[in-house]
Subunit: 173 residues, 2 copies
């Protein structure tokens, strides 16, 4: 069976990891093996020592891309949920992985700040954290993502449905 990578991108607290988890459950029902490459875990396991400058973020994304490519080649499904704020490096990942479906997790910044799952927006707004995407660091929206969900206006179930339907139309599910 062909492997593929679902590449979630969006602001912190936009819902990437939450969507990855429910999507995993959905894909596993079809007896496919799924690996989630979560931003935090990857930072710990592959990118200790890297910071949040553009150069370090890009290097972090290159490592995720390398591992997602391997998972894809193994015939499994990789779900990546790093912020991946820069267009050019997402394009690089797309070219490397090939079976690559970009899911833009759109969400109003105000909504993300309200959720603030890890309490990081608070620290970014007070200046305690520098280089925080959406506050003091840019986020470049994708121009042509295969799938867009809006977690400000949709429920998790609605967004999940959109993703599953998109993957099905693209022939991956």
């Amino acid at each position: 069976m062909n492997g593929f990578t679902v590449w979630f991108t969006g602001l912190p607290s936009s819902g990437k990891s939450t969507l990855a988890k429910v999507l995993r459950d959905e894909i596993e029902k079809k007896n496919r093996h799924v690996e989630i490459l979560d931003g935090d875990e990857v930072r710990l396991r592959l990118s200790k020592g890297l910071g949040f400058s553009k150069k370090d973020r890009d290097e972090n994304i290159r490592r995720i891309s390398y591992v997602a490519k391997i998972i894809t080649r193994c015939g499994s499904v990789a779900l990546t949920c790093a912020i991946s704020p820069y267009k050019s490096i997402r394009q690089e990942a797309r070219e490397e992985i090939q079976d690559f479906i970009e899911v833009f997790v759109d969400c109003e910044l105000e909504q993300c700040i309200k959720r603030d799952l890890k309490g990081l927006y608070k620290k970014a707004l007070s200046g305690e954290i520098k280089n925080f995407t959406g506050i003091s660091d840019p986020y470049e929206k994708p121009d042509n993502p295969e799938i867009t969900v809006n977690t400000s206006s949709e429920t998790i179930e609605q967004s999940l449905k959109k993703i599953v339907s998109g993957l099905t139309k693209l022939g991956y599910l």
Copy 2:
């Protein structure tokens, strides 16, 4: 099908990568998907910026171990061929990966120096390179590897045969 990791360990130029390639060909004949995690490629893709101190070597091996575990979980076969000179970190990899077969690629140092596939022994012996395993950095032989080959006294074909037979006996092939 259950995945597994074949963990080659041995001095530079002992024959780890060469054996990994012929083993890959052999395993692919059985319609299994194989990924080689080569020391040099991993240094480039996952460990840019890490050096050759014990701390950095251990971190490099932890990253290889993380990816090998993922490949194994995907039901595929990971062949790692990093020097991995330290016992304790190989033990850590073994515990993390579980379906882990250690192959000790034993080879006389003099023979490795004669081969010097990348011209690095020459530089290490002249002092141009520091922290070079076997010359200015330790190599800790495994106490109880599942499989031992000796590339000083065996041909590639003989060593390969030993490995395939070992994997078969262990129920992996």
